[in-house]
């Protein structure tokens, strides 16, 4: 029984690209895989999942208690299906990191976090120490494998597939002791950081919430996502969902442009997989220049308006 189950991530309308990245990881395992979509009125999402290349069957579990991404209820549902699978994969996003360890513990197994490469069905590579070391992980072949897939390390699988969608009724009991209240979204309509091809990010040097508009304007001009260092988020210049780094988002855009970000190790961790890193900073000794492909020692308040003119 070598078979993988992928937990789909979505916002109720759209499938998150992390799901197609998990599919690439499952394909690297050289195994057939199914996808489970949990939520309410998620038939559209299930159709999107069915288009992922290589998927055998998409199971659509539509139930009121699965409406919101509460790990207690979602984990119980996955565990109810686990018997048919040797591997269960979810994304390394906050949804997956909340959910997958709960599934692993209910199944009595350790979890592999952040698979960055597959060497065999039970042999993986993953980063630790904020990406400062890469290790080989061998999981026991006698046990179920539960893992999160490091989304920044994988390309999304193609979407030319046409898997059958099968509806299933929820079988797990509902936990009444966790209640979803609300989600406040910080970002506007800009591309999602974890999937954007380009990202423009600002740091503490922006010095105020108003000045962060420079970052947004430049981002909008080239259709980029907007990111930030922890220092900028801590100072309340921008919302938390913009934080890039070890404890924020790990991203892998083709182009990453950092303005006024010094480049703490924890931030570098989040951008190491970017195609091209551009750093603009007044301080020529800023550590960000050690990883930058293109560096410019200059004041961002001069450079950004010039860039806006040149790129308009």
């Amino acid at each position: 029984m070598s078979r993988t189950l992928i937990i789909a991530e979505h916002d109720g309308k759209n499938l998150n690209p992390s799901t197609a990245k998990c599919a690439s990881c499952a394909t690297a395992l050289d195994q057939a895989f199914d996808i489970i979509v949990m939520g309410t009125s998620v038939s559209d999402v299930a159709s999107q999942a069915a288009a992922i290349d290589g998927a055998d069957t998409v199971y659509c579990v539509d139930a009121e208690q699965l409406a919101n991404p509460l790990a207690t209820n979602h984990a119980a549902e996955v565990v109810a299906m686990a018997d048919s699978y040797s591997h269960i994969l979810g994304p390394s996003t906050t949804y997956g990191r909340d959910l997958m360890p709960r599934i692993a513990a209910l199944l009595g197994v350790n979890q592999v976090s952040d698979i960055s490469a597959v060497e065999g069905p039970y042999h993986f590579k993953r980063p630790i120490y904020a990406g400062n070391a890469i290790v080989d992980v061998h999981a026991p072949e006698s046990a179920k494998l539960v893992a999160t897939v490091r989304v920044a390390s994988w390309k999304a699988a193609d979407d030319s597939g046409n898997a059958p969608v099968e509806s299933r009724s929820a079988s797990a009991t509902v936990s009444p002791n966790t209640r979803y209240i609300k989600l406040e979204s910080g970002g506007g309509e800009r591309p999602d950081l974890q999937t954007a091809a380009r990202v423009i990010a600002g740091g503490r040097a922006l010095a105020s919430k108003e000045n962060f508009n420079l970052i947004y304007e430049l981002a909008d001009l080239i259709g980029a996502g907007a990111g930030a260092s922890r220092a900028a988020v801590d100072a309340d210049y921008c919302p938390n969902d913009m934080q890039v780094g070890q404890t924020g988002k790990i991203i892998s855009p083709d182009l990453y442009m950092a303005f006024g970000i010094s480049g703490a190790i924890q931030h570098i961790t989040g951008i190491k997989d970017a195609g091209t890193i551009v750093a603009v900073n007044k301080d020529a000794d800023a550590p960000i220049f050690e990883v930058a492909d293109i560096g410019l020692v200059a004041d961002l308040f001069t450079v950004i308006p010039e860039l806006k003119q040149l790129l308009a």
Partner: protein, 248 residues
Amino acid sequence: MKILVGIKRVVDYNVRIRVKSDGSGVDTDGVKMSINPFDEIALEEALRIREAGLAEEVIVVSMGGNECQQQLRTGLAMGADRAIQVNTGDKLQPLTIARAFLKLVEKEQPGLVLLGKQAIDDDNSQTAQMLAALWDRPQATFASGMSLSGDTATVVREVDAGLETIEVDLPAVVSVDLRLNEPRFVKLPDIMKAKRKPLDVIGMDELGVTAENDLQISHYTPPPARGKGIMVEDAAQLVAELKNRGLV
């Protein structure tokens, strides 16, 4: 109500990590060790809850050899009432830690368990969720805000899409994120006082927990280095370079 707080001894977050040349691990000889920063935030939150009169006792727990007593003493100096060391020479994985924690939970009957959202060495981010699962209680991970009212906790979670608010019935496990609070500094008299606070040592074997299905970790390597970059003189050169590479 009692609050149980887990603290892990890790390489200090300011230390630049070096992989040993034989690939057997990371060099920790003579390296500064500290409480995992997220765990310190968890402890600070527990202390604030107690100071607000909503809890009577804060217990810090660490699992490892006697060296982790150093971090437990720091936790006591911050203000925890007592400490428990689960003594073991083994390198523990999250499932084993969660199982051992469950034994302590059964003994101490806390109303709340506070843990860091991840340790900055293994970056696993698993223990809180696993404990909640084994205990069959709610979990609220990545907390950047929380308030208690009667038998429920309202927790604001930092998620990829923004800030999510959930409500959980106590007892529950909460894992904390960076922006929940700023931990206090320890003062010298508190360090002296901490020496007299109780620190119990329990063997992992006494808890009846043994590791199962462990992952084997090997072949530590440094990450691949990025190629050397170039410097440009001004915005115009930068744009020309980006256009050259087909990036804009």
